[in-house]
Amino acid sequence: MRLTINGKSHEVDVDPTTPLLWVIREQVGLTGTKYGCGVAQCGACTVHMNGLPVRSCSIPVSAASGAKITTIEGLASGKVLHKVQKAWIDHDVPQCGYCQSGMIMAVAALLRTNPKPSDADIDAAITNICRCGTFQQVREAIHMAAKAA
């Protein structure tokens, strides 16, 4: 099966029912996308599929074949960080950081469709779990990234 991840084509030999998450992590070797729950509850595994945020733990890899997939490793343009990544550094957002790949991918997708989200927009779109509780900084950093656009 052929997958396009971060602009690169990968040939993988897996059972087609394998979740996209585990193909990204164990076959392609990109470990920035995290396993948190396996049932699309927590959002730690969020990647972009054709520009839209999806929870890769609950998508069979067969459904991702032919799609353009972007992971946290592919969010920056070369060495130039995405504005969300920059805002995350400026606001010192991550604590343990484990959920932040998924959080950043969810926020980057939100800002693509809604460049100046209100607090209510953020509340509706960002449903990722963060056990460290970085939400206050996440919200500030989203508004900052929106201003940077």
Partner: protein
């Protein structure tokens, strides 16, 4: 404790020290002869003191052995060392000595354990001295080279200057110049008022790799030839493996081996974790579920309920005369029973560890809050001697106490699996379901409070009877034994003295604990026993105030004359929230405070309630007096973050027991707050100095829940006395 002679155990420090006892105690028996001391950093740069090495390019390598799980401890400790070293903060890097290296150097780096909010407060003095001694040695080395008195030289931002001659040099001008120098014995520390690096809201050192996927967590480790393991332990605690049919899955994709792990678990080892997990789900296993197979939450609740009336109980705090007699004769007697459930830590990163075993060497890579505790477990499970094992800590995807040292936990499992694949590194990962089933759970507790008021509404007597589980009895039985059966940690926040002392003066007081242990393994859960104790005492204080016809703040203040620092934080939040002034329409307030982990903390909140059950927490003002503040920006993040953890627990989280096992399997049954539910948190940081440094990561967590519960009563007239609130039909919106 005799195995740790370097720690003098005073009564005041007993709680800390006892909680700090890692499996490291087991080290004593099989230590190898100590080898030559390592005096260089991993890249060969010379070591000045054990905490500091300097590279030829003048980068300062600061050593850290406490665990980073998001709480910012490593950045804070580095600030303290850099402050005393007077080095250039922009050129600081962190190096992590291993427990094996520490053991080989007679525990040169001291305690690795990172729990009980001890990371900074318990090591601040010796790491600062490590930094200061290094500065003194570098200055001395430069002075020797220049043939001038060291007293005429100063250090600043990694540059040593001899003012009279105007000579200056980056430190050190010759890397080995300090080599022959002895470490100074008298090492004065700076007055915190003069700090330039410590005490400042500096950025964390580890953020860059957390925004691009580059940070490696235990889950992400890769090694040549590595295999992956998925594991399932008997879902009933205390149960065992009876049999399993490996042949049924051995032909499945990627499967290499099916193994028993200890007497209670089975694991599938495969090329990938997904293959291993898929096969494990198909593996027929017969369990011997043992004597606990029929235990339910209701059974446990009955046992605890009986403890509320038990004759025998351990006393944690006592004052005045016969409390029961005074209560019997009180003008007004108020009584209430509260309850707190089992809860799972639910770290974002499920438990995991990677091990490689050969007959000559066993190494473990993985997230742990206690490198030395993990080292002792690897030692025991590997069957090797201390010179042949080591542990390499990696970034933790959350800890919250779950990744401390517990018997028969994930570290031991990983080694027992690796032993069955000699020479092959095996990464064992728990599924979220396994993580939910085999937590080390927040202890279950009930509490009956009885208060007596005189005719003027003064509190004359208080009896607080705890009934429930002891963590230490399960995890550090030797500590409980030394206290003749009492678990002092059960009284966190309401204890007779020390870092968790009670912050009220009541003329006749009895706080006691009927220990009722269960078959569910308990653990230290961020804040530990302050979570329930703060709910019990601070909600009941509101009940007493109401019975006395007094304002909740005024009622408390009258009991706090001898607790000025608690009064300080309580007054601070009351003033900021506008206590005593009208709240916005439909908004109701509540407050709470506690003394714990040597910090003084208080919270006041504003909530509104729709339809009688939909709670919106608009705002929480939190004040904390930790004595000293090493990084105010990170403290603010810890305070706000702790409320996410604490309010998730208050509203949503309970692990229930049915047929001897935990019923909840994933976040759909064990919810956690989302950004939409996040209140605005305003942190008041008010360190008042003194000789004691307080903790940060845990203390504030406990004050949010009772403040919200007290506000809920004001909003609805409904007094809720058990957690989680979802069981009362209450939602967080």
């Amino acid at each position: 404790m005799t195995a740790m002679p370097k720690f003098k155990i005073s009564r005041r420090r007993f709680l800390i020290s006892s909680a700090a006892l890692g499996g490291g105690l087991a080290l004593g028996l099989r230590l190898p002869p100590f080898g030559p001391e390592v005096v260089r950093a991993a890249d060969g740069s010379p070591e000045i003191t054990v905490w500091v090495a300097i590279r030829p390019d003048n980068t300062t390598l600061i050593r850290a052995v406490r665990a980073e799980m998001g709480q910012g401890t490593i950045t804070g400790l580095a600030q303290l060392i850099a402050e005393e070293l007077d080095c250039d903060w922009s050129k600081v890097e962190i190096e992590y000595p291993t427990p094996g290296q520490s053991v080989a150097r007679k525990r040169a780096w001291g305690e690795f354990s990172t729990g009980g909010s001890r990371g900074v407060r318990q090591s601040n003095e010796y790491v600062r001295k490590g930094g200061a001694a290094a500065r003194m040695m570098l200055v001395q080395a430069a002075a020797n080279e220049w043939k001038v008195p060291a007293s005429e030289c100063t250090a600043s931002a990694s540059v040593i200057t001899h003012k009279p001659s105007g000579r200056y040099a980056g430190s050190p001008s010759r890397p080995a110049a300090h080599a022959g120098l002895e470490q100074p014995k008298d090492v004065p520390l700076k007055d915190p008022k003069t700090w330039k690096i410590a005490g400042k809201p500096l950025k964390r050192l580890d953020t860059a790799k957390k925004v691009n996927g580059a940070m490696i967590y235990g889950m992400d480790l890769k090694m040549p030839g590595m295999l992956n393991a998925a594991i399932k332990e008997c879902p009933v605690f205390g149960g065992k493996v009876k049999s399993f049919d490996a042949a049924r899955v051995s032909g499945m994709r990627g499967v290499k081996k099916v193994v028993q792990v200890g007497d209670s678990a089975v694991a599938v080892i495969a090329d990938t974790w997904w293959d291993a997990k898929t096969a494990l789900e198909q593996l027929p296993v017969v369990w011997d579920e043992g004597v606990n197979a029929k235990v339910s939450s209701a059974d446990i609740a009955e046992v605890l309920k009986a403890g509320l009336d038990a004759e025998q109980a351990f006393v944690g705090n006592q004052a005045g005369g016969d409390v029961k007699a005074v209560l019997a004769g009180a003008a007004k007697r108020i009584e209430a029973v509260y309850a707190y459930p089992f809860q799972n830590h639910a770290c974002m990163e499920p438990m995991n560890a990677t091990a490689r075993w050969t007959p000559d060497r066993c190494e473990l890579w993985g997230p742990t809050q206690n490198g030395e505790g993990a080292f002792a477990q690897v030692l025991a499970a590997s069957g090797l001697t201390a010179d042949k094992v080591d542990v390499h800590n990696v970034m933790l995807g959350g800890g919250f106490g779950r990744r401390g040292t517990y018997p028969d936990d994930y570290v031991t499992q990983a080694v027992l699996i690796a032993k069955q694949m000699p020479g092959t590194p095996v990464k064992m990962i728990w599924s979220r379901e396994e993580d939910m089933a085999h937590g080390r759970f927040h202890p279950v507790m009930q509490c009956r409070l009885v208060g007596g008021l005189d005719s003027s509404g003064n509190l004359t007597a208080l009896h607080m009877r705890l009934s429930g589980q002891s963590i230490l009895a399960a995890v550090r039985p030797e500590v409980v034994q030394a206290q003749k059966g009492r678990d002092p940690l059960s009284f966190q926040g309401v204890f007779e003295s020390g870092e968790h002392s009670f912050s009220y003066t009541v003329p006749n007081l009895l706080i006691d604990h009927a220990m009722r242990n269960t078959h569910v393994p308990p653990g230290f859960w961020r804040g530990v026993n302050i979570n329930q104790n703060a709910v019990f005492i601070e909600c009941f204080m509101d009940e007493l105030a109401e019975a006395a016809g007094q304002d909740a703040l005024e009622f408390r203040r009258k009991l706090m004359a001898k607790h000025p620092r608690n009064l300080g934080v309580l007054n601070a939040v009351a003033e900021r929230i506008g206590w005593g002034k009208p709240a916005p329409s439909g908004v109701h307030r509540g407050l709470a405070h506690l003394h714990c982990f040597d910090s003084f903390v208080a919270a006041a909140c504003e909530i509104s309630v729709k339809d009688g059950n939909k709670v919106k927490v608009h705002r929480i003002v939190a004040a904390t007096d930790p004595g000293y503040a090493v990084n105010p920006a990170q403290i603010e993040r810890q305070v706000a973050g702790s409320f996410v953890y604490g309010l998730s627990a208050l509203f949503f989280q309970e692990c229930t027991v049915k047929d001897g096992r935990i019923e909840q399997t994933n976040f759909h049954q064990y919810n956690s707050m989302r950004i939409a539910q996040m209140p605005k948190v305003e942190t008041i940081l008010m360190p008042t100095g003194g000789t004691v440094w307080g903790g940060i990561g845990e203390p504030t967590i406990c004050v949010a829940a009772p403040a919200v519960m007290n506000a809920f009563y004001r909003a609805t007239g409904k007094r809720v006395r058990s957690v989680p609130l979802k069981n009362h039909g209450i939602e967080l919106v």
